[in-house]
């Protein structure tokens, strides 16, 4: 061997080249395998291109596949040399062996070299009409590959027409792949801005699809079901017919098929008039959905996210099935969290006891995050079911009794929400809460307790003392706590003016002079002016009755929910976000929004616009942390936007850059009458987008119907959230 003479850097490649040209077959094949191994670990073996190419013409199928694999990787970088391979490819597409024909056409489609594409059309034409279904099904997908590279060629050669004919193929697998290819091309064309519908599904096509559905492979079924979901029915009978034909797919072992079938049913059920059939469909949907939970955790998670959506539309689907959502000790956290959410959705008077004992159990587990969510779920249950509120409070009290710091803090936060929902009902709990004052070190818990003290200041004898503690440490506290302290003290003053005069004086002084948050200062100024000019008005504003909170049945807007239900089992339905937020090409820019602003009459367009607004707000987001609604610890994506809004300067900037807070208020009030509708107008897309965000992030936030009169100031006193500043801004709208 002459390898020692080669420069050491090239040593291995040199040796490989020698072996690739060896006279022994085994040695050559072995060398190809080593080349592929090197390729996998990203060593550059592109220099061996001619040597590998020489081994392409062989009877050994395995070796052929390996050479093809190599070609697919390097064809783009070596376009000149690929030409040398063309001959073999074209010859292979004429091979008597169908496996070889299919392999050749499959691989040619994957070579991303301009030069070879021109040679692809003739063999492809032939393979599309091959007598062997295996070759045909491969060729069908090859058309989609070609379209991806050079759409003109597909159109020039009439491949689209051929594909449309192939939907009537006798072989179900060919039909499935044809459907997949057409759908792919259609999506590709739409993304490129074409308005033409490349894959028109007529009622004739529909019947072909329904036949193939029962016969093709599981993956093919998903492709066909997706096509069925796109079909726009001509009559209600047709919708019913589709539903009846698709329902048996619920029994399929593949979760992808089951969820795709659910999607089709959800879409076409909208047109089903017969109530009986609707009921029957919903009833048949429940068992398969539950069965999805015996899949591996990843599939379970996808199923759970989709079940969550389905429940928002039809809360009755799984009403008797809460127990199957009980968390197993060894479930992964992401599954447990979803299960919690669904359990609360399914909670009713009949099963609330079982749920509460379960939640109490979870609250003693090790994972802090899960424990907190469990406690939150107890609060949500209390708010959802009036009759069970007292039992929930008792459970919370027991949990506070454990004196585990994070349990106590979360319980306090939850209690605040219960107080909001049931004012002056559970005052007996207050002493217990106050007894844990020293335990609290998290801003949210502190702010919650302060809010409770302020709210019930006239019932707590030592309220001034307790608030005094916080006034003492005012400047060291975080802004949400400062805001709450400020409001609570003012409330205390309005209720017991004689004992707290000094306290209120002190805090207004500190807040206006020593505080570096303009937000806190502004609020202090407003209170100060109110108190000094018209205490009666102050009372009306600060002690006003707050709108009751309720558990939002939906976490997404109704329009978005409908859209997502039409995409069940897709990523969008898993994230509960429209596709445009995470798929690159579909992202909508500002110009697209203003373009859509013209015609408001069309209902569809309004819906679309509302969606776009949400999209615009979320555009900058990276979805790294999408499943975690409270994204505080991630200073990117949603949190980045939130953090921006939370810094008072930025909040001010958003509300207009005026230095006088009252000016801001006035200007915003001026807009109220125009903008109070729930669907945000286009020019406010930034704010609207944030609205979507913060309501999604804090499920217990006040109901999204903001007050429309100037008494909006009261919305500054609802429970403090981490994004308090943002909530305030929202309240103003």
């Amino acid at each position: 061997m002459a390898s020692f003479r080669a420069p050491p850097r090239k040593g291995e490649n040199f040796e490989l080249a020698a072996d690739l040209n060896s006279e022994y077959k085994d040695k050559r094949k072995d060398a190809i395998k080593r080349v592929i191994a090197n390729m996998t670990v990203q060593k550059d073996v592109s220099g061996l291109f001619p040597d590998v190419l020489k081994n392409m013409q062989t009877d050994d199928l395995e070796q052929k596949k390996l050479v093809y694999l190599y070609l697919m990787n390097y064809a783009k970088t070596q376009p000149e040399l690929v030409i040398l391979a063309v001959n073999t490819f074209v010859k292979d597409t004429d091979d008597p062996n169908p496996l070889v024909r299919a392999l050749a056409i499959r691989t040619m489609g994957c070579l991303r070299a301009e030069k070879i594409i021109d040679y692809l059309c003739d063999p492809l034409q032939k393979c599309l009409r091959d007598e062997n279904p295996y070759v045909r099904k491969t060729a069908a997908l090859c058309v989609a590959k070609l379209y991806d590279l050079k759409p003109e060629l597909v159109i020039e050669n009439g491949f689209l027409e051929t594909l449309r004919e192939m939907i009537a193929d006798s072989n179900p697998m060919v039909v499935a792949n044809t459907v997949a290819a057409l759908t792919d091309i259609h999506n590709c064309a739409v993304a490129a801005g074409s308005n033409e519908d490349i894959f028109v599904i007529t009622s004739h096509v529909l019947s072909k699809l329904l036949i193939a559905l029962n016969e093709c492979s599981e993956w093919g079924r998903v492709a066909i079901l997706s096509a069925l979901a796109r079909y726009e029915t001509e009559s209600d009978q047709e919708s019913e017919h589709i539903c009846e034909r698709v329902v048996p797919q619920f029994q399929h072992a593949n979760a992808g098929v089951v969820l795709a079938a659910v999607k089709v049913i959800m879409i076409h059920m909208r047109n089903v008039q017969s109530e009986n059939l609707t009921k029957q469909l919903v009833r048949k949907m429940a068992p398969p959905l539950v069965t999805l939970l015996s899949n591996p955790p990843e599939v379970q998670w996808v199923a759970l996210r989709n079940i969550n959506l389905l429940l928002q539309k039809r809360s009755d689907i799984l009403s008797n099935e809460m127990r199957v959502f009980f968390c197993k000790y060894n479930d992964p956290l992401y599954v447990k969290v979803e299960k919690l959410d669904i359990m609360v959705r399914l909670a009713g008077e009949s099963n609330v006891d079982a749920l509460l004992s379960e939640l109490k159990e979870y609250a003693s587990e090790v994972d802090v995050d899960f424990v907190r969510r469990s406690i939150k779920a107890i609060g949500q249950t209390a708010i959802k079911i009036d009759e069970a509120a007292e039992r929930c409070v008792n459970v919370l009290l027991e949990l506070i009794g454990t004196r585990v710091s994070y349990v106590v803090q979360e319980a306090v936060v939850v209690m605040k929400d219960i107080f909001r929902k049931y004012p002056s009902t559970y005052e007996g709990v207050i002493p217990t809460l106050c007894a844990n004052l020293d335990e609290l070190d998290e801003p949210e818990a502190k702010a919650s307790l302060i809010w409770i003290i302020g709210e019930y200041a006239n019932k707590i004898d030592n309220a001034d003392e307790l608030l005094g503690i916080f006034v003492e440490s005012f400047t060291e506290e975080s802004y949400p706590v400062q805001l709450q302290t400020l409001t609570a003290v003012v409330k205390l003053f309005l209720r017991k003016p004689d004992t707290s005069q000094g306290l209120v004086q002190r805090i207004l002084n500190t807040a206006t002079k020593d505080c570096d948050s303009p937000d806190v200062r502004d609020r202090a100024y407003i209170y100060w002016r109110l108190l000094s000019t018209d205490p009666g008005a102050a009372k009306n504003v600060v002690l006003a009755h707050r709108p009751p909170i309720s558990l939002p049945r939906m976490t997404v807007s109704p329009a978005l929910l409908e859209e997502l239900l039409g995409e069940i089992s897709s990523l969008a339905s898993v994230y509960h976000k429209p596709e445009e937020t995470f798929v690159g090409r579909g992202r909508i820019g500002a110009d697209a929004i203003s373009k859509g602003a013209g015609d408001l009459n069309d209902e569809k367009q309004v819906t679309q616009k509302a969606l776009q607004t949400v999209v615009a707000g979320q555009q900058s987001e990276n979805l790294l942390n999408f499943d975690d609604p409270t994204t505080e610890e991630q200073p990117s994506g949603i949190a980045a936007t939130a953090a921006l809004a939370a810094t008072p300067a930025a909040a001010n900037l958003l509300a207009g850059t005026s230095s006088n807070p009252l000016d801001d208020l006035v200007s915003i009030f001026g807009n109220v009458s125009l903008t109070s509708a729930t669907a945000p107008a286009p020019q406010q897309n930034v704010m609207g987008g944030m609205g979507g965000l913060s309501f999604g992030a804090t499920p217990l936030a006040p109901s999204p119907a903001p007050p429309q009169t100037p008494s909006v100031l009261q919305s500054t006193s609802p429970p403090a959230q981490p994004q308090q500043a943002q909530d305030d801004l929202l309240g103003l709208f």
Binding site: A37, T40, V41, Q42, L61, E62, Q63, K64, K65, L66, D95, N97, P98, L99, R106, P133, Y134, V135, L141, E215, S217, E218, W219, A223, P248, Q251, H252, N254, A255, G256, A260, P287, P288, T291, E298, V299, N320, R323, V324, K328, P332, E358, E361, E365, V366, T402, R403, V404, S569, S570, L571, Y575, F582, V583, G584, R585, R587, N622, L624, D628
Partner: protein
């Protein structure tokens, strides 16, 4: 659809990489390594960065990763990942780093065949094995005919079966395997008890046999009608793709042409009248702050001709346990400090019998006043010839042109692994 497929080892090194579509570059693998493999805080199986979504499944220190840039069908992608794992298992047994490295050529061949342009194609193990083998196939004249058969099978209405199967002795084995899920509260009430059943079949039948399968089930879509017979209520069933779903939907008959060899005919779920084979009664007392006493009784709840085997109880102890003094009448019990559990292994318990574990755990004193979370006791076991749901195979009929006699065997097994939990 699926734009790329990768297998990473635990360090984030790429073992297998295959791009299916042009919308991605190979360097996307580095993004996954940085954002997921070396990020300990990933708490979701799908990670989306920008417009690229990574679906990953962890298995024996491997990451099986599918990447997509579109609004893909998430359930399908995960189903595909798991399908790949089961195909790999059937080809080379264990799926771990070493196996992947040793079989990378085969894996490339497989993933080239089962996905085309991001769309999963034929993933039937039986069919794949006919043309993707560990020995190389020569494309000779004789092979051409063989290939035509293979391709017809791979695309045919019965893509899961070859037409020319021949056996001297026609046999079919049916295994009913039930996994019991139980969570029992500390007070002894059953919070959740259900059965995940799998009916596995090994069919060694010649020709193209048409099978009909019957159970004592009473599939209840509507829960309001309750049966009075010995019929078992199945909440839901799911079938292998060979079963004609439309026929099942209209007449409730399970008819199919089975694949050759082993496959999972159906899965079912049952939640009513679940017979719990083992009853566990724990009594755990914390004696002051330095000791915890355990008395755990296991009773078997079935005919005394049967027995539970491979019974393993995992009894959690507080985190600050130094040692546990165990006393058991049968089997072996040992404290495993690394996992904070006492593992009690009993090779065999007869039906109707009862065994009791007693132990005393010594604790060190700690300053940490957090209460002990008391994770549940977990029991693994197997009981042969017993079904927790009460399901029985009524008949399996085989019709074939050859009109041969076939022998059918039925076995029942009820087991639990990691899902039979008793709180205390």
């Amino acid at each position: 659809m699926i734009s790329a497929f990768f297998i990473f080892n635990q360090k984030g090194e790429v073992l297998i990489s295959r791009l299916y579509r042009t919308d991605l570059k190979r360097s996307i693998a580095d993004v996954f390594r940085i954002q997921v493999v070396s990020n300990s805080d990933v708490r979701s199986p799908i990670v989306t960065l920008g417009s690229t979504s990574f679906f990953h499944v962890r298995l024996n220190n491997l990451y099986i990763v599918a990447v997509t840039k579109c609004n893909a069908n998430a359930a399908l992608v995960f189903e595909y990942c798991y399908r790949f794992i089961s195909i790999a298992k059937s080809y080379f047994g264990k799926v771990d780093e070493e196996a992947v490295k040793n079989n990378f050529v085969l894996i490339y061949e497989l993933i080239d065949e089962i996905i085309d342009f991001g769309y999963p194609q034929n993933s039937e193990i039986d069919t794949l094995k006919t043309y993707i083998t560990t020995e190389s196939i020569m494309s000779t004249a004789a092979a051409v005919e063989e290939s035509s058969k293979i391709t017809t099978q791979a695309t045919g209405a019965t893509s899961w079966r070859r037409a020319d199967v021949k056996y001297k002795k026609n046999e079919a084995f049916v295994d009913v395997v039930e996994t019991v899920n139980l969570s029992m509260s500390a007070k002894g009430t059953v919070l959740r008890a259900d059965v995940d059943g799998h009916i596995l079949m090994r069919a060694y039948l010649s020709g193209t046999p048409e099978c009909k399968f019957g159970l004592n089930d009473k599939l209840v879509i509507d829960k309001s009608e309750h049966g009075t017979s010995d019929a078992v209520e199945l909440d839901d069933c799911r079938f292998h793709q060979c079963v004609r779903l439309d026929e099942f939907d209209s007449t409730r008959t399970i008819s199919f042409i089975p694949p050759d060899g082993e496959f999972e005919l159906m899965k079912y779920r049952s939640t009513s009248n679940v017979k719990l084979p083992l009853r566990v009664i724990p009594t755990v007392n914390e004696i002051g702050t330095s000791q915890v006493s355990f008395v755990v009784t296991v009773k078997t709840n079935f005919n005394n001709k049967l027995s539970a085997t491979n019974v393993v109880l995992r009894i959690p102890t507080p985190l600050n346990t130094t040692d546990v003094d165990c006393k058991v009448p049968s089997g072996k019990a040992k404290y495993v400090p690394a996992e904070n559990v006492v593992v009690w292994k009993i090779p065999r318990i007869q039906g109707g019998a009862e065994v009791t574990f007693s132990g005393l755990a010594q604790l060190t004193s700690t300053t940490n006043r957090q209460v002990w979370a008391r994770p549940p006791i977990d029991v693994d076991f197997q009981v042969l010839m017993f079904t927790a749901s009460g399901l029985i195979v009524r008949f399996l009929k085989v019709f074939e042109k050859g009109n041969y006699n076939s022998i059918k065997w039925v076995r029942y097994l009820t087991k639990a692994s990691g899902s039979y939990q008793i709180r205390f």
